[in-house]
Structure formats: structure tokens, C-alpha cells
Symmetry: C2
Subunit: 412 residues, 2 copies
């Protein structure tokens, strides 16, 4: 029997489309591993009546109801009032929470504003969940086996409270079926070939393995169900190992790993360095590489060669550009080699192409050439991406460039 | 009497937190201008029974119900089935839609797969909304003044169908109160000063003006209500003009305008050019600038100087780095000047700082110096951003750098 959950996210700004409800997907992605099945997410405004109605329905139908937002000190923050109504209880000022708030404001060198007293409220059926990064404690309220957990809206506060407070308490409570997942990301193989190679695990029901075509290659997703975490792990691990053995070097990442993480790990371990010269990606390649903490140990820098002059000044032979055009395989390879030598790096990446919306040198938007240079050779590949969006062309070119480098790194 | 709307977004991947429901905020942000008030958003899985229940409740309680997703050809795509159940009607294959689908696949050089026939379904109470960019027509179904509009999930298809089909039809139908909004983005003034300067419009109820502190400065948001678009406009425009007059050069953008749009517009009009040298932002500055279509007409390129060697090789005096450190006002200004001269541009931006998580040269994460160089001078400013997230430090530094350039452009 599955344990059901619902999320109720509150805030008029969510309904106005002014901010995106990322909290629900944060929670949603973490529930299966706790053995909870999310049935619905509801976004409501700062409207007490509607909020109470949605909460009541969820509370009676699910074992777990999560609320996000509405725990601030203003009159618009109605989550506590809504929960009190659902439980038919009166709020009171909890002296422990009150003292904590007073001390918190004192430590910040200021007095607690009187309106913040709201954040010290509780009802008899609720206990407070400590907030380590903000002024809004959460609530854990329950009756007859139904639990209602109120979490703060700011993503950083929510994540902190989830990990430190909510998840451990849920784990201690739930003894049902736990779902663990793992995503294995591959590049260089088509979906049909993957299906064929993985045939022995694709037919199984538990763990279930699905294949998904994504811009960064084919993903294999393992979903294992067990009566507890250990059992689910025992089911998942052998299939994980089998898939990694089958696809070997074609596996470039696991779960949330990005191409820039994957490349960074190899370079760091080998103590090798990288430099980039990019035109159509306009800095997004360097930006992605430098998003990885510690990237300064292997990334030497780069050039955004938005003009041919700058390409030439950075070491790309002018006659190559004249003969083949700036958007060409030859120039991509030369860019990679030039920046490698210019910055004295072990590897160089060169990217040239047409981000759009207009064509360039007669080449349509979406055309991209990626050059990779190492000590022995410089080579380039041709790509043609869907061209309906400039940012998306750039993003796909960056992914392709990083995965091309990764493939090259594993070949040498 | 407000006209109420609800959105029901379907897809198990939304509940698993695997993809973000951006469709609802797209629709949500567009409803007020059409005179509709969004009361709730519900995310449901590909579960027909639950879907029907949520739809039924919304359909009877609101004048408008929107669904997103579930219009594909697979068995998981249950939106049509759900709507048919809500209306208690049988689906049939519409010959016009069928022919359109057959022709569409033919034009792509392939035969229509048999399962796609589902996309030609209709019920007696529904008409099809043409899809210009995909294979899934939408539905406009109605009974007794209640309208249910089914839109495709892929954001590009949704946006196209919204603009070309749904919004015009809603506009023709609704004759109630219309809400128009405008956001005026300022930089360089604190919230208290803004409140004081705008005091004459801040007290009014319609149009209402609110102030919001954001990472890119203080935003003033005008919300005007009228019985139709013209009336709302007549209320909004004078306040808009007044605020722009009051804040003059401190206004850097309107509505969705980004700092890079704003800078690009000035440079394009003046036919001037820009170059960048960045270290801690690692390419994000260049990436933002080149996200603007047509940026190649004013952006000459840049250098990501992740090492001191590359800074020196690009024209930053080595003794400056030695004396003041790479993370300093002096080096930021020198980077801006060096890249301006190196790429023969009218303006140069230099950014140096500490993205984190570790300190650098004894300076804490979040420390950033921004240099701006023009024909007459090179200067730099010091910034200290919240340092809990590397990507966020980079993003704030980029915003500050672009707005610093904009301020400089308006001074010269």
C-alpha cells in the first residue's frame, strides 16, 4: 500500500508567474527515496479560505501533506492560520520559540520587530522545526497518523530544514516501500544500440530500467523498490554495476553530474590543464567550466573570439579563415590548437558556429564546429543543432564540446 | 465579479521533480492582462482518475480551466480522455485533423504512425486549436459558459498556441476587468529615497505602485485595473511617464528587459563597441552579453583571464598585480583598459574577484572589483555579494558590471 503525499505551495507571486515554484520539485524529487508517492501539487494564493480548503482535502486523503511558504511575519503569511483552522485549534505563543527569536535578532544587533512574534506561534498538535538559516521555524503537526509539515519558502531555508529536520523524521516514521533511483548518462551510442546491449536488464520489473534520449546523450534510469533503503540498494547496485560494465567509456556521468563536472574530474586527477577559444558560444563554455568549484586548478582561461581579427591575433592562421570561412572544421581545430599553445595548456577546445537567429557565411543557425587539440593532434567535428533558440544552440554546443573533450581524454 | 481561472498541469515527471512546470507561470503571468484571476494551479501525474477529479472540480468552479501537457500520442497522454470524461462525451476521429496530421507527416517525408491518430480526436463540445510547431492540436471545449482549454506541454508549442489561438479567443470572450502591469527597474538609489521621490504616486489605489528590492536594483511595479484594456492603459501610462521623469537616468530597464539588453541598446544606437576581460565571472559576463541577438555588431570579444600570466599577457601591468594583488580595484581598472586597447573597442569591462567557495589573496568569497574603461578614463568599484553560492556570486557580479557600464555610458 503506497504512502501518499501532497504538496501545497502558497504565494500570490507563484500564481502571477512572478516566481517559479522550485520548492515543489525539490521535495518531489526526494520523496520516492523516502517511500512516499507524490499524488498532487497545488499552488494557491495568499487566500486563507482557499488555502484551508485545499489543505483539508489533502490532509484527510494523504498520510503526508507538505506546505511551502507563508511562514514569514506579515499578514500575507497565512500558513500558520490555515493549519490551525485545519486542526480546529487556537494558536499560542510558544515561549521557547519566542526566546529563540529574541536571541536571534539580538545576535544580529537589532531588536525583534513586534510583528515577528507570529513566527513563535504553535498549536497544541504541532512542534517547531528549527530553522538554521532564517527566522521562520517550520511546523510538524499531526493527528490520527496524518502528518502536515510546514516548510519555509526560500529555497535555501527549505533545503536546510528538509535535510536536517524533515527528511530524518519522515525516514524514522515510514516503514513501507522505499524507491531508489540512479541515472547513468551515456554518450556516443544510439537508443536502439543501447536497448540491444542492455537487453538482459531492460525486461526486469524491479529494478526497472528505462532509457531516455536527452540533449547530452542517452540516459539509463534504474528504479529499485524495496521494503527499506537497504533492500532497495541491494536490488539497485548489481544492475548499476552491470550497466557501467556494459557501457564502459560511453558512461560520462551519474545522477546530477554535468559534462563540466565529468571533464573536471578527469583533468584534476591527471593534473592536466585546459584552455578554450569560443565564438558562437560567446563565453558559455568558459562559464560552464568555471561553475565547478576548484576549476581554477585545471582551467587556464580562454578567449571569446567574436571577431576574425581576434581569432588571428590569438594564433589562428588568417589564410585558414580566408580559405574555409570562420565557421569551418579547419578553423575550429586551429582555434583549439592556438589557444592550447597560447595559454600553454595540455588541451584546447575551439568552438565556432552560428547561434542565430541569422545565418553566417551562408551557414544556417545551429551549425557548429567543435575542435579538440591535445599534444598529438587537433581535430574537429561538425554538429547541427535545432536552431529555434539562440540560448539553446549555445547550450547544446557547450554540452557537445565538453563531451567531445571527455571522449578525447579517455582515448589518449 | 472577478472571472476565475485554474490551471491543471499533468505529467508524472513534474511530480518526480524531473522537470520544472514553467508552463503554469507562463500562463499565470499573462492572465491578469486578459482580466482573469488565477485561483489555483494543480500538478497531477498521468493518472486518469485523479486527473478527472481535479478537472471536474475546477471546471464547475471556474469560468476558465487550462490544462497543459498530456496531448502526445502515447498511452500516458491522457488529457483528451480526461476531458471527455468531464464532459461525459465520447471521443471521435475528426477527419479534418486526421488529414492535417497525415499531411504533416508526409511533409516530413514519413508516414503517420498509427498511434498518432489520437491527436486527431475531438469530442462534440470541443473544437481543435491549431498547433503550428508540433503534432498536438489543442482543444477549446465549453459548456454553460465554462471553458476548458487544453494546451500542449512543450513550452515553445504552448507559447505559440497561446499567442495565436488561446489569448485572442479569451480576449474576444471576456468583458470584465483587465489588469495591466509595468515594471520600471532602477539602479543607484536606495528603497527609502525611492519611496520619498515617488511619494505622490505611492499612495494611490489604482494604479497601485509597489517597490521591490532585487539583485539588479529597486523595481517599481505599476498595477492598473480597468474595465477594458484601453481604460487600464489610460490609467497606467501617466504614472509610467511620471516615474520615468522622476527617476531619469536611474531607470535602466522596463518589464523583462535585462542589463545586457539595456547596454546593447545604447551601444547599438551609438555605434560603439565593447570588450571584456573577466576572471571570477569566468565567461558569464561574455555569455550574458552574447545572449542578445545581434550582439556581434557591438561586442568585439573578451578574455577569461583565469591566471595572472594571461592577465599580464593581455596587457595588465605585472607590477600592479604584484603590488595590489590580482583581486583589487587597480587590477580591475587595468583589465578594463587593457582589453579595450587590445581589441580596439570603445569600452572595456574588467572583472576580478572571489567566486568562492575558498578565499583568495586573503579576500573572502563574494568580493568583486569591477573596472570600466572608456576613452577618457578607467575606474573601478568595489562590491561585496552574499557568498553562499558560486553561481550566484558570478550572476550578481555580471549584473553589477553591466549596470556599471550603463551608468558610465550615460555619463559620457
Amino acid at each position: 500500500m503506497p504512502i501518499y503525499a501532497e504538496i501545497v505551495a502558497s504565494g500570490t507571486e507563484l500564481l502571477m508567474g512572478e516566481s517559479q515554484d522550485t520548492d515543489s520539485s525539490y521535495i518531489g524529487s526526494r520523496l520516492p527515496a523516502l517511500g512516499l508517492e507524490l499524488r498532487q501539487v497545488s499552488l494557491v494564493g495568499d487566500d486563507l479560505e482557499r488555502y484551508v480548503e485545499v489543505l483539508k482535502r489533502s490532509f484527510t486523503r494523504n498520510q503526508f501533506t507538505f506546505t511551502t511558504g507563508g511562514l514569514g511575519p506579515t499578514v500575507d503569511d497565512v500558513t500558520r492560520e490555515a493549519i490551525a483552522k485545519v486542526f480546529g485549534e487556537e494558536v499560542y505563543v510558544d515561549p521557547v520559540q519566542q526566546q529563540w527569536l529574541i536571541d536571534l535578532f539580538k545576535s544580529r544587533g537589532t531588536q525583534m520587530p513586534s510583528r515577528n512574534i507570529k513566527q513563535a506561534w504553535l498549536i497544541p498538535s504541532a512542534v517547531a522545526l528549527p530553522n538554521r538559516v532564517g527566522t521562520a521555524p517550520g511546523w510538524w503537526a499531526e493527528r490520527d497518523g496524518h502528518v502536515l509539515i510546514a516548510l519555509p519558502g526560500p529555497p535555501r531555508e527549505l533545503a536546510e530544514m528538509w535535510e536536517k529536520e524533515a527528511a530524518p523524521r519522515i525516514k524514522a516514521r515510514v516503514t513501507g516501500s522505499v524507491v531508489l533511483t540512479r541515472t547513468i548518462k551515456t554518450i556516443g551510442l544510439g537508443e536502439a544500440i543501447i536497448d540491444e546491449m542492455a537487453t538482459e536488464v531492460l525486461g526486469i520489473e524491479n529494478p526497472y530500467v528505462g532509457t531516455y534520449a536527452r540533449p547530452d546523450g542517452i540516459h539509463l534510469r534504474i528504479i529499485a523498490r524495496g521494503s527499506n533503503e537497504q533492500e532497495a540498494k541491494r536490488l539497485l547496485e548489481p544492475v548499476d554495476h552491470k550497466l557501467r560494465a556494459i557501457f564502459g567509456k560511453n558512461v560520462w556521468g551519474i545522477d546530477d553530474e554535468t559534462p563540466e563536472d565529468s571533464v573536471g574530474t578527469v583533468l584534476r586527477v591527471r593534473r592536466q590543464t585546459l584552455a578554450t577559444m569560443e565564438s558562437c558560444t560567446g563565453g558559455m563554455l568558459a562559464d560552464s567550466i568555471t561553475n565547478v568549484p576548484g576549476s581554477s586548478s585545471y582551467y587556464k582561461g580562454g578567449i571569446i573570439s567574436y571577431t576574425n581579427d581576434l581569432k588571428v591575433a590569438s594564433g589562428v592562421p588568417a589564410d585558414l579563415i580566408e580559405t574555409y570561412g570562420a565557421v569551418s572544421e579547419e578553423v575550429a581545430a586551429a582555434m583549439a590548437q592556438a589557444i592550447r599553445l597560447h595559454l600553454d595548456a595540455d588541451y584546447g577546445i575551439g568552438v565556432t558556429g552560428v547561434a542565430g537567429p541569422d545565418a553566417l557565411e551562408g551557414k544556417p543557425p545551429g551549425t557548429v564546429y567543435i575542435g579538440i587539440a591535445g599534444a598529438r593532434e587537433a581535430k574537429a567535428s561538425y554538429h547541427r543543432f535545432p536552431a529555434n533558440n539562440r540560448g539553446l544552440v549555445k547550450r547544446r554546443a557547450v554540452t557537445a564540446a565538453l563531451l567531445a573533450l571527455r571522449t578525447h581524454l579517455l582515448e589518449v
